[in-house]
């Protein structure tokens, strides 16, 4: 804490140059040692805070909102793949988000999807209906780390059979919210991209399906710094 010392000068005292110099010295020291104790409780408000000093949300690359587009879950029945636009081919993702060590990145992702039964297999094939899985994964362009965001896998399927014929269709909405701190880097800086990945197949089968369509997607990421 910066502390300004007031010289003891009373009526009748001789005022010496040291009285002023000591005072000036303590005032000059303020700039290098001022801290929270110099500030009155509840003394500052948002006007004093720099823009984006507490958290940072950029409406550009940090916000993904489809404009009526649809996205296809296709490509693999055994591993997660990006979910790409059926018109532009671009995946569902946010970023690059810039952050530093110890700063949280919070991601909110909501979407709907449909997986219609193509009437290829009936129930007696010992397969369930469509099974669709999603998860969030981040990539740090500084460290090169690609990692799943823990606990974000979500799955949907159906065993319901329509009177000895075909399995029921899937129509659902899903929301995934996660917060994470990327692995530390040598520079302490991060450039984070977050992807929504998906996998689509028959339950109890790796037979390719690829007819799950994702739509009405909103995804955004923000850096919570302090």
């Amino acid at each position: 804490m910066a502390f300004v010392t007031i010289p003891s000068i009373n009526t009748g005292d001789e005022i010496k140059v040291e009285n002023f110099n000591d005072f000036i010295t303590s005032v000059n020291a303020v700039t290098s040692s001022i801290n929270a104790e110099n500030i009155r409780d509840e003394g500052i408000d948002r006007r004093n805070l720099a823009t984006n000093s507490v958290q940072e949300i950029r409406v550009g690359s940090d916000l993904f909102k489809d404009s009526g587009d649809t996205f296809q879950v296709a490509g693999s029945t055994t591993s997660f793949v990006p979910i790409n636009s059926t018109t532009t081919g671009l995946p569902i993702k946010v970023g690059v988000v810039n952050s530093k060590d110890d700063e949280f990145i919070m991601v909110n992702c909501s979407f709907s999807f449909t997986a219609n039964n193509p009437k290829t297999f009936v129930e007696t094939d010992n397969r369930g209906g469509q099974e669709v899985e999603f998860k969030l994964q981040y990539k740090d362009y500084v460290s090169g780390v690609v990692a799943d965001i823990g606990g974000t896998k979500r799955a949907f399927n159906s065993f319901m059979s329509m009177h000895g014929n075909y399995h029921a269709n899937l129509r659902y909405s899903c929301t995934i919210v996660a917060a994470f701190i990327p692995d530390s880097t040598t520079t302490g800086l991060h450039e984070i991209e977050v992807n929504l990945l998906g996998m689509d197949h028959y339950s109890n089968s790796n037979y390719p399906l690829g007819n799950c369509v994702v739509h009405d997607v909103t995804m955004f990421a923000r850096v919570i710094k302090r």
Partner: protein, 218 residues
């Protein structure tokens, strides 16, 4: 800080009264020694680097990929996961929980013939509504609690979908400083003609799940 003025001005040729000098110094010292406020600081002068971590927000996350089985559990809510967070000031607590879970048939249960068919079929990845009248409905419920208060409850998820996902969020405002517990609870039951009872044919397992707790202090 209010409007500050120079209390005593010293003019040329004037005999200086020492206490006046001291009072001038006191005016400045009083502000710096613990009474600076927003008026002393320029707009937008405080950036991230000079703000201590967790000053405005404190976040705690926990997740698991280990299956949590609801087999042989009572039909009342039981705790699935929880976390505590220490916050030294009153705050608003926002919690998010997400998970997926899937239904399984119980291989050891004693069932009548129709129910056994249902269980066998389930193990073969299909379920026909012909069995519905025998086995009745089985439900999964979830709730999210902050300091013992419910902030979110789901509807009862039927077993019709073998795998399903759940998301809950809620906020409790003006949580007093101290240790705050956020918990997620689940229950399972069979609805048999309006009567709630234990499910002997099915149980569900809660798989990937994550809990995010966000204490917003300012």
């Amino acid at each position: 800080m209010g409007f500050k003025y120079k209390r005593f001005e010293v003019r040329p040729g004037e005999v200086v009264e020492p206490t006046r000098i001291r009072k001038n110094m006191q005016a400045l010292a009083h502000e710096i020694n613990g009474n600076l406020d927003r008026e002393n600081l320029p707009e937008k002068c405080i950036d991230t680097e000079v703000i201590a971590l967790n000053t405005f927000n404190k976040i705690k996350t926990t997740h698991s990929t280990t299956a949590f089985s609801m087999a042989s559990k009572p039909i009342q809510f039981i705790e699935v996961m929880s976390t505590t967070i220490d916050v030294p000031v009153d705050c608003a607590v926002i919690a998010h929980f997400g998970a997926y879970f899937d239904w399984h048939s119980n291989s050891t249960t004693n069932l009548n013939a129709a129910e056994a068919d249902a269980g066998d079929n389930w193990d073969n990845h299909f379920f026909e509504f012909d069995d519905y009248d025998e086995i009745k409905e089985h439900f999964a419920d979830f709730r999210l609690r902050i300091n013992g208060e419910d902030v979110c409850k789901t509807f009862s998820y039927p077993f019709f979908r073998q795998s399903q996902s759940v998301y809950m969020t809620g906020v409790l405002q003006a949580v007093v400083a101290g240790q705050i517990k956020v918990s997620v609870e689940a229950k399972m039951f069979r609805l048999n003609g309006g009567k709630r009872e234990s499910s002997t044919l099915f149980h569900y397992k809660i798989k990937d799940r994550n809990l995010v707790v966000h204490a917003k202090k300012r």
